[in-house]
Amino acid sequence: MKRTALTQKLLVLGVDGMDPRISQKFLAEGKMPNLQKFIERGSARKDLHLLGAIPTITPPCWTTLATGAYPGTHGITCYWRQSPESLDAVVYNMDSRNCTAEQIWNITSEAGLKTLVWHWPGSSWPPTSHSENLSVVDGTQPGSVNMGVAQLDWEKVIVATPDIKEVRYAPRVDKPAGVGCIIADLEGTLDNEVDDEMMELWWGDTAREGGEIRTYVMDDEDTEVVIGSKVAYDIVNSPLKEATGWANAPEGAKEFTILTSGGVMRRPALILKNEAGEYDRVAIYKNKKAEAPIVTLERDIMVTGIMDDVTKKEVTKPACRSMKILELDSAGNKVRVWISNALDISNDQLWHQKSLYKDVVNNVGQVPPVSLIGGEDDELVHEIFEPSWAIYDKWQADCLNYCIKEKGYDVVFSHLHNIDCAGHQLWHLGKTLPPWDHTDEKTFQGFIEKFYLQTDDYLGEFLYLLDEGWTVLVVSDHGLIVGENVPPILGEYGGLNTKVMEDLGYTVMKKDENGNSIREVDWEKTRAVQIRSNYIYLNIKGRDKYGIVDPKDQYDLEEQLISDLYNYRDDRTGKRVVGICLRNKDAVLIGANGPECGDIFFSIEEGYNRLHGDSISTSEGYFDSSVSPIFVAAGSGIKSAFTTDRTIRQVDVAPSISVLLGLRYPAQCEGAPIYQIFSEEI
């Protein structure tokens, strides 16, 4: 059957973690004028909600948006995939080859439409169609383009004062908020357990080849909100003294030393005076004999696109960095500088076609590194983390517009990670709960607002397309809530959650000589484990490596476990914290069934859930936050200034794109076109 297309050009603006409820708060305050224009010129529900797929986790939901199929059908059922070997380990899951449903971009490209899939963290990489019309950029991790494969060095803060007597370097220091980056006890700051290669471990070549990742979440210290709010970066301390031995140091300049590349690269730097005799700039040089600096930094301005050599594992390559002055004393008695991680500018391995990488960097600019430091340190969030994302947002908007205007793409599927990235570090601090009562919720609510406002700027970069015949869909995978309570140790997506399952007697950990649990499962006594966001696996004889449960007892054990979960009371509040529990066969009701969904699906009850992932998508949180994703459509083929009461499901987006472009539906699609918002009867 052929249909007439309602549009020839379509852009999906995906914003990871964008929440319609919190967006409405800022819309009502007039702070998101560009989103307001998309709404006024298009269609949405009044509450802007999209009903999210379950689990409310990034790769499953982006895959649902791309396929129109539920997670149980497309097979991407959490951030990680269950290890085929072990009940307590996970493996990499952002690989399109694991997806058992057809992606809509294969249909658009094979129908002759030039299609770009930009950093879509759900079943986009590697490309699954041979069509020459299909281009795919990264999508192997949710962060930013090239983040998983091109990082050569870590972020660092350099502090120089006249009192510091020698150059000192401390790698990856977990800095308690409020302590001033001075290395007093170098021995004490060094941690042999520091993993230098976290990006590679999670998203690098080994992970992508299926290596097991074993993470146990045993207490609050292992949870993402606690880990994510600690900031870890390299600290360099340097003397600040009169410049000596320079080929070309300006009058009155003072020198200090920057170390990069795990300490092996050294860059001499100068603080410079202005005409009034105040120090107001920092110039960084390759060496003291160099005529010109690599970069000159001014106060309050983050500079990106700084090219410098970086050495990693004995190999030296040119890399792109960003830098900013954090503090510069006008009298020249102190300077603090932030330096971003370093991205290898030669790495085009996750660009298809590779020529697109060259075109983008030559015409738009090098990929700007985003900062991942901030957490509880509000100075770093304000000065570094948020601005680094604003720069990245603009670069990405410029890239997409370059591809639209200069490269002739007809259909673009794009994903931006700014809100979700900030949400995982900061949103829990939007309510001052006892474990982080040294922070102020107002400060962090202010950061939530800043990230929504920068998202509005990003959306504004594409408004012009509505006047050029394009259809624009603003969508997200899920929202993130500001938690009302500290969540239970259950439903954390990163690994094996042991505490509640130990309390209930299903998971048994081995014990040390004092009877305390150690990080090793006692498989001989373990009847069930809870792993990833929402899944419980029974330890079944004949099916699982160390199985002890007789398959004929499975049904009764599931019943008992479900009862026990409903009866479980949180030890902090005395309240029930488990939401819904379903056997695998019953979880088809929410599309979370099938071989990748464990024996029991469960959710965490509203009020006790963490950011997103462990709850259902209708959960709401503090500060008008919710786990719901957003949906707004505007432009060609979409009714203008229209609201619908229809429940719009995440599975409905892909078939709606099919209708708008006059193409067939994806093969495993379970959703239906949102016909109510189309400009013509279908």
């Binding site: 020698e166 150059v167 401390a170 170098l186 170390l259 300490g263 050294r266 060496n287 003291k288 004999k289």
Partner: protein
């Protein structure tokens, strides 16, 4: 010919400020392998006089430098030219490997 010992500040001056092409052995007094390598370097030093510097850092006296280069264990010989790190050789090395590395660093 004995090697000049560098502390943190002297290291800055020689290796970075003067940009002297050099090698620096990171060693420890009670390390057996170091006791073999250091005399070998001392013996090599005169033939490179004026062309390539030979220095040593005692890692117990200058922990900062040892940690700054993220080194694990001694001896390690680090090479520099024009203020840039140019690689290292670790453990019990032969004179030939040092000569080769110097030639590589000097670009001859």
């Amino acid at each position: 010919m004995s090697l000049e010992q560098l502390n943190s500040n002297r290291f800055e001056e020689i290796i970075y400020d003067n940009c002297e092409p050099s090698l620096v052995i990171f060693s420890r007094k009670d390390c057996h392998v170091c006791k073999e390598i250091v005399p070998m370097l001392e013996e090599m030093k005169p033939q490179y006089e004026g062309k390539f510097g030979f220095y040593y850092v005692d890692v117990e006296e200058d922990k900062t430098l040892f940690q700054r280069f993220s080194l694990k264990g001694v001896p390690q010989v680090l090479f520099f030219r024009e203020g840039e790190y140019r690689g290292k050789v670790a453990g019990k090395v032969e004179e030939e490997s040092i000569e080769e590395k110097i030639a590589e660093v000097l670009g001859v």
